[in-house]
C-alpha cells in the first residue's frame, strides 16, 4: 500500500548472516519459533533494513527470547509491556525501525491493555504476535487464545474460557494493518515486507507450533494435505479463491455475512467471489471473524489502510508548540508571580518590568 518508508529510508545492503548473533538459540528443537526467526532474518536484507537502526523489543515468553538472536539492537523487557517500552523508544527516536515480538499470553493476557493502546495510537512499528495458543515458557498452561476444552496442567478437565481472536481484537482496537501467517509458511516473508512497508502499527498474527505443549493445533490448515482447502491467502485486487481455485468467498447479501461458494471452470465472477480490497474495513471485520472449519483460515494481508502515526503527530505537535520559543532556563524559573526584594519595600516584578524578562540577578 504505502511504501514511502522504504523509499525514504536509505537502503542498507545486508545478507541473512549479518542478522545472526553469536548466541546459542535456546528454543526446543522443532519449535516453530526457529522458522519465524529465519524468515525475519531472511526478510530484513530484502527490506534494506539497517542493523544499527533496528530495534527488537519483546516481553516475556519463549517467543520473547527473539531479540537475543537478531544482530541489531534488542530489548527483552518484562511480561506484557513490550508495546509500552517500544512506544518510549520510538518517541525518543522516531528514526528507528521498531519491531515488537510478543506471544498470545504476553500480548493478549498480561499485556492486552498495552496491545490495545499501541494499536489505537497507531505507533509506527511491526507487532509480531506468535500465537501458539499456550503459555510455552511456563510449561504449557492454557492461554487466552486456547480453544475451549484445552487440557493443560492448569485445566486438567479442559479449559472453559471463550478464546480471544487476536486479529479481531487488533481490528477492534483500531489497528490499520492486520495480517496473518504461520511459522513455516513461505508467504511469511511477503507478509513481513507488507507489515514493514505499512506506516503505522502493523499487527501480524503468526500461528506458531509449540511442539512440546500444544503440538499441531494448527495442523487442520497448515498440514500439506489440508492446505488447499484450509488456507485462503488473500491478495489485494485478487478474488478470494482457495481449494486450487475451485472455491471462493462470496457475500451472502441476505445474511450480511460471508459464504463459501463453488467456482466452476475458474469463473469466479459468476460465483460472485469477492475481490479483496485491503482498505475495506468491513470486509476485514468479516475475514477476522470467519469461523475456521466451515471456512478456510484467512491468511495474508487482511487489512492495510494507513492513517497518520502516533510518533509523527507527537513530533509535529511538539515542534509546533516549541516554535518561536527559545529554551531559556533562567527565564523559565523566573516566570510566574514574581517580586523583587531590595533594600526598600518589595515591588511587583511585573511593575518593575522584570517578569519573565530573563536574568535579573
Amino acid at each position: 500500500m504505502n511504501d514511502m518508508t522504504t523509499l525514504t529510508k536509505p537502503r542498507v545492503e545486508t545478507v541473512l548472516k549479518d542478522w545472526e548473533t553469536d548466541q546459542e538459540v535456546r528454543w526446543c528443537p522443532g519449535c516453530g519459533d526457529y522458522a519465524i526467526l529465519k524468515a525475519v532474518q531472511r526478510t530484513l536484507p530484502m527490506l534494506g533494513a539497517d542493523p544499527k537502526n533496528t530495534v527488537f523489543v519483546s516481553g516475556i515468553g519463549c517467543s520473547s527470547r527473539f531479540p537475543y538472536y537478531v544482530e541489531s539492537y534488542g530489548f527483552h523487557t518484562i511480561h506484557g509491556r513490550a508495546p509500552a517500552v517500544a512506544t518510549g523508544v520510538k518517541l525518543a527516536n522516531p528514526e528507528l525501525d521498531v519491531w515488537i515480538v510478543t506471544g498470545d499470553g504476553d500480548g493478549l493476557s498480561i499485556g492486552g491493555n498495552h496491545t490495545m493502546h499501541i494499536l489505537r495510537r497507531n505507533l509506527d512499528c511491526q507487532i509480531l504476535l506468535f500465537n501458539n495458543e499456550i503459555y510455552g515458557l511456563t510449561k504449557g498452561q492454557y492461554s487466552p487464545t486456547s480453544r475451549a476444552g484445552t487440557r493443560s496442567p492448569s485445566s486438567p478437565a479442559g479449559s472453559v474460557d471463550h478464546p480471544a481472536k487476536p486479529a479481531a481484537f487488533a481490528l477492534g482496537s483500531g489497528a490499520r494493518f492486520i495480517a496473518r501467517a504461520y511459522d513455516v509458511a513461505k508467504q511469511l516473508s511477503d507478509v513481513l515486507i507488507a507489515a514493514y512497508n505499512h506506516k503505522g502499527a502493523a499487527f501480524v498474527e503468526i500461528f506458531q507450533n509449540c511442539i512440546v505443549y500444544n503440538k499441531d493445533v494448527f495442523a487442520d490448515f497448515t498440514e500439506k494435505k489440508n492446505a488447499d482447502d484450509g488456507q485462503l491467502w488473500v491478495e489485494n485486487g485478487k478474488p478470494m479463491l482457495f481449494g486450487k481455485g475451485t472455491k471462493g468467498i462470496a457475500l451472502d447479501r441476505e445474511a450480511l455475512a460471508l459464504k463459501v461458494v463453488d467456482v466452476t471452470d475458474g469463473d469466479w465472477q459468476a460465483a460472485g467471489v469477492i475481490i479483496h480490497d485491503v482498505t475495506n474495513r468491513s470486509v476485514a471485520h468479516m475475514l477476522v471473524e470467519m469461523p475456521f472449519g466451515s471456512f478456510p483460515m484467512a491468511l495474508g494481508v487482511l487489512y492495510d489502510d494507513p492513517a497518520s502515526s502516533f510518533e509523527e503527530a507527537v513530533v509535529e505537535q511538539n515542534a509546533r508548540l516549541a516554535a518561536g520559543k527559545t529554551p531559556d532556563l533562567q527565564k523559565l524559573v523566573s516566570q510566574g508571580q514574581t517580586w523583587i526584594v531590595s533594600a526598600g519595600p518589595a515591588t511587583d516584578a511585573a511593575e518593575a518590568g522584570s517578569a519573565g524578562s530573563g536574568p535579573e540577578l
Binding site: T21, N53, A84, G88, L321, V341
Partner: protein
Amino acid sequence: MASAASQSTAPLASDETVPEAVVVRFAGDSGDGMQLTGGQFTLSTALAGNDLATFPDFPAEIRAPQGTLFGVSAFQINFGSSDITTAGDAPDILIAMNPAALKTNVTDLKAGGLIIADSGEFNDRNLAKAKYESNPLQDGSLARWQLLSFDISALTLESVKPFGLGNKEALRCKNMWTLGLALWLFDRSREPIVDWLKAKFAKAPELADANIAALNAGHAYGETAELAVPVKQLHLPPAPAPEGLYRTVTGAEAISLGLVAGAQLAGLPMFFGGYPITPASAILHHLSRLKEFGVTTFQAEDEIAAIASAIGASYAGSLGVTSSSGPGIALKGEAMGLAIMTELPLIIVNSQRGGPSTGLPTKTEQSDLYQAVYGRNGDAPMPVLAARSPADAFDVAIEAVRIAIEYMTPVMLLTDGYIANAAEPWHVPDMSTYAPFKAKFLETIPEGGLKPFARNEKLARPWIKPGTPDLMHRIGGIEKEVNTGHINYEPANHQAMTELRRDKVLGVARGIRQGVEIGEETGKLAVVGWGSTFGPIHQAVRRARRKGHDVAHIHIRHIWPLPENLGDLLKGYDQILVPEMNTGQLKTVLRDQYLVDARPLNKISGQPFRIAEIEAAIEGMLA
C-alpha cells in the same frame, strides 16, 4: 448582621501590638473558590514582603454535595516578618463561608481568635447539613472566640447588582468580596488582584468588572463599617530576605522545573511518561507545557506503561522520567526492577499520599519510604532522595537527574501531597551557578571490544543508544554476565552482579555529607527528619533551643544510600527522635543501619505535624 462579641484577648484586638506572624484560614464549600482566594491572598502576601507558607486542604470529591461537612475546602496561610517554615499550628483568623466550614475548622482556631462568618449561609438547610442543632452564630457556643458575622452573600449581591449577573453567578463573587475584606485587614494593595482578575476574565469583561466590584466592596466594608468587634488593620513589616527576584512556587512546579533544568544540565531531551493520579498529576500538567525544552510528555494507558515507556526512552537516549503516587508507584515496581537490571537512568517521582490502597488521596503522608527503599522483588537497590519543601524540590530534582546519569541507575524522588500543593516564596536561582553534568554516550567500539556491562570508576556501565553504528547489542531483565551482558545463570556470576549493583548504588553516598540544620554536631538530642516535616521540626527545635534545651535538627535528603557520615554523626547524640508522618519507617532504617536507639514520633492523620506536637516530644525526651 451583628453578633455576639467575646472578651478580646486576641492578637488582633485593637489594643495589641503587631504580631510577628499571623495564620489565616479560608474555609468554604468546595464550590466557593477558597483555593483561588487563598492563592491570591498568598500573592498579595508575597508582594507585601512577608515570608509565608501555605497549606491547601481540599476534599477528595470533585463536586462534593454543597454545604456538607465532607465538601469543605480550606486554605491556610502563615505569614509574617520573620522566617516562616510551616503553615502554622492554629489559625488566628478563620474565614468561614458556611456552617460546614465553621464546624470542621473552628476547633483549630486559637482561643480568642477571630471568626469571620457569612451569616447569609447560616440558614436552616445549611445548618442541618452541617449537623448544627442551633445557629452557632447566635447561641453563644462560639464565646471562646471573637465573632464577626455579616451577610456576605447579600453584600456581594448588592455590590455586583449593576452587572446584571444571574443570582448564581453573582454569588460566585463572594470569595472576592471576602478577599477584599482580608486585604483591608492586612493593609494590602488591591491592584495585583485587579490585574489578575482582568487577565483571568479577559474574554468576559462583565465578570471581571463584577469580581472587581465585589473585591472593592469587601475592602470598603472593612474601612467604613462599624465592625462589631474592634478589629484594627494590621500591617506586618516585611520579613528580612536576601535581595533578588522572588516568586511563589509549589512543589509540583519546582519538581517540574528542576527536572527540566536537570535534563538541560545533562544535555538531554526529556521523556515524561505519566498516568493521572492525585497529587502527582500536576507534574504531568506542568511539563506538558514546556516542549521548547525538548520535553516530550506521554499520557500512558496506566502507570506500568508510563514507566515502561520512560525506560524505553532512556534506552533510546532521552532522560526518562515517570511520576505517580503510592498506588501507581506500586504498579511500577516490576518495571523499576527492569531499569535496575538493565542499568538505565530513570527518574521516578513519588508524590506520597495517605495509604494503603486509595487511602487518603488528597491528604499527605510519608508512608512510602519502605516502598521506595525496599519495595521491589530481588535485591534491587535504588537511590532515593526526598524534598523537604516546595523550593527545595527544585534542587533535589536536579540532584536526582545527576545521580541517575552519573551512575546509570533509576532514582526515586520522594515528595508528598503537602509539598506538591503548598506554595512558598522562592528566591529564583541563578542558573549560571549550576555546574553541568553532561551525559556521555558510548559511540565507538572501545579497546578490547564492546562490553555493554563493563564499568567505570563509579561502577556505571556505558550508555549506548540504538542508532549507534557497530555497537548493536541486546539487554533485558535476565541476569547478565559480568562485562559482556550476555545471558548468564551461573551462581557465581549472579552473586557478582548482585554485589556490583549493590556497590554501585552504595557508592552514590561517596562525598555526600550530612550536616546539621540547627544546633551542634553532638549533644543531648538530635531530631532527625526527612521530607515535608522540615518546617515543624525546624520551628520546634528553634523554640526548644530558645528555652535552653540542648537539641539539634538533622534533615536527611539522601534517604538511600544514607550520607556517608550519618552514622558517626548520630552517635554523637545521647538521644535521637524521628518525627514522621508514618508509623516509623526512617526510624527503622536508622536503627537497622547504625544500631542506634532512634525513637519514633508518628502522626498518621493526613495532616502535617504541628510545631507544638514536636516541641512537646522534645521536652518529653529531655525531661
